[in-house]
Amino acid sequence: MADWYDERQYDVLIVGAGGAGLRAAIAAADGGVSVGLVCKSLLGKAHTVMAEGGIAAALGNVDSQDNWEVHFGDTMRGGQMINDYRMVEFFAKEAPERVYELEHWGGLFDRTPDGRILQRPFGAHTYRRLCHVGDRTGLEMIRTLQDKAIHCGIDVHMEVTLTRLLKDGDRIAGAFGYVRETGRFVVFRAKAVVLATGGWGKLYKVTSNSWECTGDGCAMAYEAGAELMDMEMVQFHPTGMVWPPGVKGILVTEAVRGEGGILRNSEGERFMERYDPVKKDLSSRDVVARSIYKEVQAGRGTPHGGAWLEITHLDAEAIKRKLPSMWEQFHKLADIDITKSPMEVAPTIHYVMGGVRVEAGTGQSTVPGLFAAGEVAAGLHGANRLGGNSLSDLIVFGKRAGEHAAQYVKGVSGMPRVDDAQADEERTLLRRPFEGDGSENPYAVHEGLQAIMAEHAGIARTGEGLQQGLDKLLALQARAERLHVGGSMLFNPGWHECRDVRFMLTLAEAIFRCAIERRESRGSHWRLDFPDQNADWGQKNMIAVKENGRMAVRTRPVPQMPPELAKLVQGQTVVKSVR
């Protein structure tokens, strides 16, 4: 080892301390191996904390007809059939067990009068399925997992950014990065790495995501040779705040509609009756987001370009009890009392369905020893994620990835060799903004990226617009070779932003390249020049992979369901996209 970095060593290294990372860490520790957990923020602050609505799991506590088979069908239909059916099967079957487990670890949910876990309705779920605690389910989940994890004998390294996966030949050897507080470089040697780094909503300006959602894990996996899948699938949550400007994008939970909230246009019309007469305001997110967009385009938008979301017809005390954070958020940040006035909402970037391609059961990527779980992994949600399916995704596949990583390392003899040259190369890249002759401000480059994404890779896309966007992006990537910041390496946000921006530029390229290729409209991917779903494209997942230093894009057949699962999806048609 060199003297210019600190070294830590674990059997399994978990990157990210949101729901998936914490659950993976607990599972790996249960497997009897040494576990290190690295997170960019303080423990308990990960993006999961912001999840509001609930955890989808077919307990059947409120609607007894619900079961894993219905959840399977809803999720496949929601994802418009390009999901990995095996993942969906594991998911629907195991989610209830994982929820009960949270309760056994001290988590508390809202309850039915007879004492069971209460469930609420959410978009495109056939039955009431979301286990919740008011509108702070994510906080409850993360606190429960956090308090369980700290007593499991794992080491937690807070406020550490990892920027490169290290490899010994083909297989994983650990990861390299820096301690945010001091700027000191650090090498984590590990036999297996589990990426649980979440999504990359910060590519976009109007987003519900926190600063951490810059896609580090996904971009590191790509650089290390892993396949990325369905990167064009970026979810617009229909209801983000739009006013005042400082709060633009902050999420208004789907639970508002789950509890009876109604969307109206500027003419007072309940417009979802036209776009999805059956599910109306509780249609899937892609459908509701497009419908709002169409209303605004047709001149029926609200003053700030959105829709009205009304819940004033409910009892004021009930609103404050069932949606306390929403009441507080609008009251404090927008001067609006939601028990008396409607909320102004518009689509906001919320989630990415694409990510690292993994094996359904184990979470292993195409790189030996590299696992991924949660939002950074692709396959479960297909073209559109149903609300509430994220929190259960985290705990079902967090557990599986942690378990299988532990199992994998038992078959690895000896710690993989760390090549100092790889670490040194990354150090050079990281130090360049201080030492090089560049003059580009990383925040300005980030703003430039967000402008490109908004203009060319937003809710409505065309082939021509995407190509223009890609050209602009490649020019911006060239500019990002010349980033410059001042100050020292001590807790320096501008310097941190430099590496984050490079990760985001890589993932933006994958989004553009995949979106150009998919010549159809499906789920969150809406092509105005190809407005319909196409049966051929419905058989394909998009794959982006690094080949000879460049990004190559190709397709891969969607795994075909066996008949007993296929019949679970029949009976109801897949919701037609809004053209």
Partner: protein, 252 residues
């Protein structure tokens, strides 16, 4: 509209001072927006923590015009154009600018014995707990760990008592465990000993700054003080505990 003047603490453990920035106003702006504007346009080295910008994660705690608050929830227009001073929370050691070393809190949390159901409950898959059983705990579970209550606790702030008292945050945490209908442990020995609940003399400063409006003193600390007093000074309860072992039901 005129620029909004901010005086922001810049420095590290070795020392520092307030620095003035003029930030263009924006409708509905919160203090955190202004810090981001400073980072993007004036000085990218300004260190501050934040995550959600929606008062859910508790990362962006600071002292704004002397009052401990969340930066994401503090509206600039509340100050009517007067200069706004932003300093790091005082109670924990300064790292840089607005960022302090809060690691002590994480060490304390680890010392608290975790949630422990009975063997019988651990075996059963589904638990029955009525709304009444759990609802009073929701208040404690709302805590976002912003540590503003720790910042104003006089034991920690004025008397540097981190070696004697866990502080309000962890009284709330212990209350949530102690009052959980399925938990079997009793943590009053810890409260009387290392937790140092006796040091709290009910000034309620912690309640005043809690962004989640948790009644920290009334609903967590006072009931825990009563339980601790019962267990340590009531001979009958001491006997019961010595021979019973299980946590008995409590009125508060």
């Amino acid at each position: 509209m005129a620029d909004q003047i901010f005086h922001v603490f810049r420095g590290d453990a070795k020392g520092g001072d307030l620095k003035e920035y003029a930030v263009p106003p924006m409708e509905g702006m919160v203090v955190l927006d202004a810090m981001h504007h400073i980072q993007a346009h004036f000085d990218s080295t300004l260190a501050c923590r934040w995550n959600c910008k929606a008062a859910k994660c508790g990362s962006c705690s600071a002292e704004i015009n002397g009052k401990p608050r969340l930066m994401c929830k503090t509206r600039v227009d509340d100050f009517h154009g007067a200069p706004i001073t932003v300093r790091p929370i005082k109670v924990f050691p300064l790292l840089k600018d607005l960022v302090t070393d809060v690691s002590w809190n994480y060490r304390v949390n680890k010392e608290i014995p975790p949630f422990t159901p009975s063997a019988e409950d651990a075996r059963s898959k589904e638990w029955r707990m009525t709304p009444l059983d759990v609802e009073r705990l929701f208040e404690f579970r709302k805590c976002i760990e912003c540590f503003l209550c720790q910042d104003v606790c006089h034991v920690l702030r004025e008397h540097h008592g981190t070696d004697r008292y866990y502080g309000p945050r962890f009284m709330v945490r212990i209350a949530a465990l102690e009052m959980h209908p399925k938990d079997t442990l009793t943590r009053t020995d810890l409260l009387a000993g290392k937790g140092g609940i006796g040091y709290c003399n009910i000034t309620k400063c912690c309640e005043e700054v809690c962004p989640e409006s948790i009644h920290i003193t009334d609903n967590a600390i006072i009931p825990l003080k009563e339980r601790t007093a019962d267990d340590h000074f009531d001979p009958w309860r001491a006997l019961l505990r010595a021979f019973g072992g299980r946590k008995e039901p409590r009125g508060t």
